[in-house]
């Protein structure tokens, strides 16, 4: 059975998604989704252990049609890390969603919501395990279409227009990816990534192969919300139901960046991407603008969901900065940060979920004195906020450290300074919340508010503890990330 784990990771949520539509009971659907995402999490843990102990990547031939003819699933270290974090976040958000959805979605829509949730999970896990370029496109569209539907279920009518904007941008991005894959196929006659990697180096001089790289990079940059093409992100995260914001903020953009890493380092030659396509400086410049732009706009927001969305844009800047350095330590910093940021941002969104559940909003100006009323929720915000800033003993510190040492290694002192500066900005926007919560007199409106129910607090604190755990035990987010980066550069 162990040999089938790779495909079960995708097939189990896939078959559970339509089952959700058939069940009418809300509690039963929630139980099914929790169990399914829990099984996915256990599978991904097992796969991570298997990958870390074996020399080569795990492979699986769908229908026993061997690569390059059939679709091959292939799991190496970086894929295993991303699959682990995606299924972890999916599991915890699923546990959390039972109570938080009550106020946000009509009861009869709940089974359909969970069906879309599982389809989104199927797509995201599919992207990480597949070794076939076209299959990656299909899974990306499965997850994107499901996430457009999830976002549009937000309470506010602005959710509809945000979802529509995401749909337009997302479809353009996916179609760009499709063009890129088509042009690669036209030259090589294969869609298998390992096979492409062998055949492409001889063809790199051809213009249409170069154009295909451009299409793929731009398409995936739209999907991962890199600076100039990020405009879908703030609206989508602000107006979606809070469980959806938390889930997507932790997984969707990260998985797109994983796909970009896959194409740049496995399919294309990274030396080509640096020396001929000059992607390094382009990524670094856009990343720096994203870091500054996102952090500065986050300072101005009153709606905390929107503040976290802009903070996400800044964090995506860090991720692209690591890729843009095109060094082993830069890439491993990116992988570390994919892992850490998924945990941090999901924790922060879940905190907002508790506040919205109790107060009906997450407006900073009306949160005065909330620290005394909801001590556990606010404490979770403080710890996750410290992790976002990068204080030692939190997960966020490991990624900041990795990123800073990667920039120092190549003596880009200005980049080091910019990372420090944007971390200072993060301190400021996290501090605004802390100040309101603890140091301002509470208003009459919030005096009757009590702590959020345990059904919300337990999943939230599971993530908070992970924030600290991964700051101390860095096996996965530092050592495994390093191994992953090594093997990506070695290939």
């Amino acid at each position: 059975m162990q040999s089938h784990f790779l495909v079960l990771l995708v097939a189990i949520p896939l078959i559970a998604a339509p089952v959700c539509v058939l069940i009418k009971s809300r509690a039963l659907v929630w139980a099914l989704v929790s169990v399914v995402s829990g099984i996915c999490f256990l599978l991904s843990v097992k796969l991570l252990i298997l990958v870390s102990t074996s020399e080569t990547a795990l492979t699986y031939a769908i229908g026993f049609w061997d690569a390059p003819v059939g679709i091959q699933y292939r799991l190496d270290m970086v894929a295993a890390i991303v699959a682990f974090i995606v299924s972890l976040i999916a599991f915890i958000v699923a546990l959390y969603s039972r109570v938080s959805l009550k106020d946000e979605i009509k009861a009869e829509k709940i089974p359909l919501f969970y069906s879309a949730y599982l389809l989104c999970l199927t797509g995201l896990l599919g992207i990480t395990v597949t070794g076939d370029a076209f299959n990656l496109f299909v899974f990306m569209e499965i997850s994107s279409l499901a996430s457009y539907a999830l976002i549009s279920m937000g309470k506010n009518r602005a959710a509809l227009i945000s979802s529509f904007r995401y749909l337009i941008m997302g479809t353009i991005g996916a179609t760009f990816l499709l063009i890129g894959i088509g042009l690669m196929y036209a030259h090589t006659g294969t869609l298998n990534m390992t096979d492409l990697a062998q055949r492409l180096p001889a063809l790199l001089g051809k213009q249409s192969v170069q154009v295909s790289l451009a299409f793929i990079v731009i398409g995936l940059a739209i999907k991962s919300a890199l600076f100039p093409v990020h405009i879908w992100l703030p609206g989508a995260y602000t107006h979606a139901p809070i469980s959806v914001s938390a889930f997507l903020a932790g997984t969707a953009t990260k998985v797109s960046i994983y796909a970009l890493i896959r194409f740049l380092f496995t399919v294309f030659d990274q030396t080509y991407a640096v020396s001929k396509a000059h992607l390094g400086p382009a990524f670094i410049i856009l990343a720096v603008v994203a870091m500054l732009f996102g952090s500065i706009l986050a300072l101005k927001q009153d709606n905390l969901k929107r503040m976290l969305a802009y903070s996400s844009i800044a964090q995506i800047g860090y991720l692209f900065l690591g890729i843009g350095l095109f060094s082993v330590s830069g890439l491993s910093a990116t992988i570390t940060h994919i892992f850490n940021h998924a945990i941090i941002k999901t924790t922060l969104f879940l905190v907002l979920g508790c506040m919205i559940y109790k107060l009906g909003h997450a407006q900073l100006s009306q949160l005065n004195g909330i620290g005394k009323r909801m001590p556990w929720t606010t404490a979770a915000f403080v710890i996750a906020g410290l992790s976002l800033i990068g204080v030692p003993l939190t997960a966020g510190f490991t990624s900041k450290w990795a990123l800073v040492s990667a920039t120092l290694e190549q003596e880009y002192l200005i980049l080091t300074a910019l990372i420090m500066f944007t971390s200072l900005l993060a301190i400021v926007y996290i501090w605004r919340v802390v100040e309101a919560a603890y140091f301002k007199e509470h208003e009459t409106k919030t005096t009757t508010v009590k702590e959020a129910p345990l059904a919300l607090l337990i999943p939230l604190w599971m993530l908070v503890i992970l924030n600290i755990y991964f700051g101390i035990d860095t096996t996965i987010n530092i050592e495994f990330a390093r191994q992953a980066a090594d093997s990506l550069f070695g290939s």
Binding site: H4, A11, I15, P18, V21, I62, G63, F64, N156
Partner: protein, 160 residues
């Protein structure tokens, strides 16, 4: 539509043959051009024709929106179950050859290959036809007279 006798007679003639052609496309798919996608869409075309001639309410009596929703889930479950069945019978996911026991190697087992592709395409056909029909139902049922509670009709909306 009651007085359009020509339309009604022609529709009554056409609908069974469209359904039959869809079934042919579906089950002849592993020998010639065809398969679940095409068959599903052709199958639904018959229902859409029925709606255009006899009205939405009458079509909903034949196949209710709830049934359509259930069928769209059943098709996907059928597809994925074939995959799981082949794992339990000792093959890889979606390895059709494992579905029927045979002395031959899986890839050369014609019975299993036929059964597998037939079931998978049936799943695709059921899902495609019911999803297209449910899209059609949802769009056909919409009228823009009611404005949702949180929506504020603007000036332009009022004048219309």
């Amino acid at each position: 539509m009651n007085h359009h006798i020509v339309l009604r007679v022609v529709a009554k003639l056409l609908i069974p043959s469209i359904l039959l052609f869809a079934l042919y496309t579906q089950f002849h798919g592993d020998y010639g051009p065809g398969g679940g996608f095409q068959a599903g869409v052709i199958y639904t075309a018959a229902f859409i024709l029925h709606t255009l001639v006899f009205g939405l309410e009458n079509t909903k009596k034949i196949i209710s929106p709830t049934l359509v929703q259930v069928l769209s889930a059943v098709g996907v479950i059928l597809y994925a179950s074939v995959g799981f069945a082949s794992i339990f019978l000792g093959g890889n996911f979606l390895e059709y050859g494992a579905l029927i026991p045979s002395a031959l190697p899986h890839a050369a087992n014609p019975g299993g290959q036929h059964l597998g592709i037939l079931l998978v395409e049936l799943g695709v056909g059921i899902t495609v036809s019911s999803v297209i029909l449910s899209i059609f139902y949802n769009f056909a049922a919409e009228d823009d007279s009611d404005i949702e509670a949180d929506g504020i009709p603007n000036e332009k909306g009022k004048h219309e």
